[in-house]
């Protein structure tokens, strides 16, 4: 199986869907002539022309709202946010309009839009550029949100997102764009709402998503090598819809859970996961659920300190050891 980058995997997904469906159009700042701020759309303008790959001015509220309106007429826009941190200037469109139009029209109108872009910290760009809003999005009925962690997942989830008739928001990571992984040449899709066991184990379940998956994998390796603990790493991949069954099945097997995410702890995704585990697998737990989140403050700039604010493998190891 060929090994390609996360960036290439997303680009391939976009290209395949552009070719499959004439209504798919990619719109965003610098996506066409500049080849993408993070080069995800590099070469697509040359291949598909300016009707399908469209440079937007810096007007997130305007062009995302425009995408929502176009999707109501059956266009399938894939909107790039240079950073998910920029979503807030378009919040009324992203939250209010995209999630409510179907409901308020009694189901008469669909909004088949995809909004994608990186959502991660760890790049020393300060508080305004380091947001991970998957918890905020997942709070809105009507919206779907996925956080792929590998090239394979990124491609398969992106293709499903584009084909979905509901709004799907895809959160990528600038730190993952250059990572590589095996991706089959033949076409495949990954259904939204299906978690993936990234490492099988029997002693503790580490639930994670997006950028925290690699943190969990490193922690699992340390746990095995230094403590002979076999951790199961469960990558949610999709936040909403949520694969509760996979979480409960894993916890029932391991009887312990540590939840890792780059969100902050208060009202983070893992607050919901913790509720679900205690509600559906209470009698299987041999220890309290533990969490590792980003330190609860705006993202610090200082390159020397920012890594300390984000979830680290050492924190995960520590939390696991505390409940063994």
């Amino acid at each position: 199986m060929p090994e390609i980058s996360y960036r290439q995997a997303i680009k391939d997904a976009l290209a395949e869907e552009i070719e499959r469906d004439e209504n798919v159009v990619v719109i965003g700042e610098e996506v066409a002539q500049y080849n993408g701020a993070y080069k995800v759309t590099e070469g697509l303008l040359e291949r598909y022309g300016p009707k399908r790959i469209v440079d937007a001015p810096i007007s997130e509220a305007g062009f995302i709202g425009m995408g929502i309106g176009a999707s109501m007429l059956g266009v399938r826009p894939v909107m790039e946010l240079m950073f998910w941190s920029f979503a807030y200037v378009a919040w009324d469109q992203i939250i209010n309009n995209a999630s409510s139009v179907r409901y308020m029209s009694g189901g008469l109108i669909n909004v088949p839009i995809v909004i994608r872009g990186p959502a991660n910290g760890g790049t020393n760009v300060g508080a305004t550029h380091s947001h991970t809003p998957e918890n905020l999005i997942a709070n809105m009925p009507g919206l779907k949100v996925v956080c792929p962690a590998t090239p394979y997942d990124a491609k398969g989830l992106m293709k499903s997102a584009i084909r979905d008739n509901d709004p799907v928001y895809v959160m990528e990571s600038t730190l993952l764009y250059g990572t590589t992984g095996e991706v089959p040449e033949e076409e495949y899709v990954i259904p939204l709402g299906k978690a993936d066991i990234k490492r099988e184990g029997t002693d503790v379940t580490i639930v994670c998503h997006g950028p925290s998956v690699s943190v969990a994998m490193t922690a699992a390796q340390i746990l095995k090598e230094e403590h002979d603990i076999d951790a199961e790493v469960l990558d949610l991949r999709s936040i909403r819809p949520l694969d509760e069954e996979a979480i409960i099945t894993s916890v029932k097997k391991t009887n312990r859970a540590v939840l890792v995410e780059e969100n902050r702890p208060f009202c983070g995704v893992d607050a919901q996961i913790a509720y679900t585990i205690q509600n559906k697998a209470f009698d299987y737990l041999d220890a309290p659920i533990q969490r590792v989140s980003t330190i609860d403050a705006p993202a610090i700039y200082s390159p020397a300190v920012e890594p300390e604010q984000l979830p680290k493998a050492a924190n995960v190891v520590e939390k696991v050891l505390s409940i063994m």
Binding site: A61, V101, Y103, G107
Partner: protein
């Protein structure tokens, strides 16, 4: 021409009837009445072809009736009934009829304007000869999203028609106290975007049809946007909850409009003057409209409320079409 009269009368009688229903305590939340502005929705709807679309803000009952939605489904929606156009899920501010190219009914001031530009984008993307009329009040013109939408429409030559229904007041704040603009008017801000613009006297249905007709022609033939500012007036408050409606303007001002500038009255006098209709014929139309509104009120009254189970319907397309669902996992988190 009789048809225009009938449509304006229908809207006015519907609004008057809905106010009574509101006063009876049967309508929740807000109720933004269109009384005084009927000529705009009727003139614009009368010019719509197969690929011309309409989207507006929360003062949307007039547009809904003008594009052909029934009084029954509109009144039932006001009462929050399952027979309402949005099954009781949208309410007064959120009427929709995509089969009639009517895309709402939106509650956030100016938030619908980027959507309207999206409709224009869709029309152009599909190579259709059409347009998207995006309506807003004069209170919306200072929202950032509106200006972003202006720029996109002009930059990309989209067949969008921005229609400012300028009734002089954004809630209780007069235009003078809310908007800095070129002396010619609010629409003149179009100059900054290299867009065509026009200011229209909304008391004349024909003037509106002329101006909007030019904008539609520009959209159809050149795929270019236009900003239209149509001067109009609302007799009622911003919404019926606006108890101060007579405090931020004088009684004389309201009376002057009612007497001399009411579009329905102006049109009525024109029809009489030209002997196109007689008083009796007008009375008949008026009676029919009142009766239609009465029937709608009764229909709404007798209709069922939506079920509690329906609260989670129409949220996700996938949840409503389980046989076609491709995703897995939980979509709702109610236990």
């Amino acid at each position: 021409m009789v048809g225009f009269y009938r449509e304006m009368v229908r809207i006015r009688r519907f609004e008057e009837r809905s106010l009574r229903v509101y006063q009876q305590g049967k309508i929740g939340g807000f109720l933004h009445l269109y009384i005084g502005q009927e000529s705009i929705a009727v003139a614009c709807a009368s010019l719509m072809g197969d690929h011309d679309h309409m989207i507006t803000a929360y003062r949307n009952h007039g547009h809904a009736l003008a594009v052909g939605m029934s009084m029954n489904e509109c009144m039932a929606e006001l009462l929050g009934k399952a027979t309402g156009c949005s099954k009781g899920k949208g309410g007064s501010m959120h009427f929709f009829a995509p089969d009639k190219n009517y895309w709402g009914g939106h509650g956030i001031v100016g938030g619908q304007i980027p959507l309207g530009v999206g409709l224009a984008y869709g029309v152009k993307y599909k190579d259709q000869k059409g347009s998207a009329m995006a309506f807003m009040g004069d209170g919306a013109i200072n929202q950032g999203a509106v200006h972003e939408a202006y720029n996109l429409a002009a930059l990309w030559d989209l067949p969008a028609i921005f229609i400012i229904e300028n009734n002089g007041y954004s809630m209780g704040t007069s235009q003078e106290r809310s908007s800095s603009h070129p002396k010619e008017g609010l629409a003149a801000r179009a100059e900054g975007y290299g867009m065509a613009w026009e200011i229209i006297n909304g008391e004349s249905l024909f003037a509106i049809r002329d101006g909007v007709g030019r904008a539609i022609k520009r959209a159809h033939e050149e795929s270019k946007p236009t900003i239209l500012e149509i001067h109009t007036y609302r007799y009622q408050g911003h919404s019926v909850a606006d108890a101060n409606a007579k405090k931020y303007r004088t009684k004389e001002e309201i009376d002057d409009y009612r007497k001399n500038h009411d579009p329905l009255n102006v049109y009525r006098l024109f029809l009489l003057d030209q002997k196109i209709m007689s008083e009796d014929e007008m009375k008949e139309i008026d009676g029919e409209a009142k009766q239609e509104a009465e029937v709608a009120a009764q229909f709404a009254d007798e209709s069922e409320f939506p079920t509690v189970e329906s609260i989670t319907e129409d949220v996700y397309w996938e949840a409503d079409n389980p046989d076609k669902r491709t995703s897995e996992g939980r979509l709702f988190f109610n236990d």
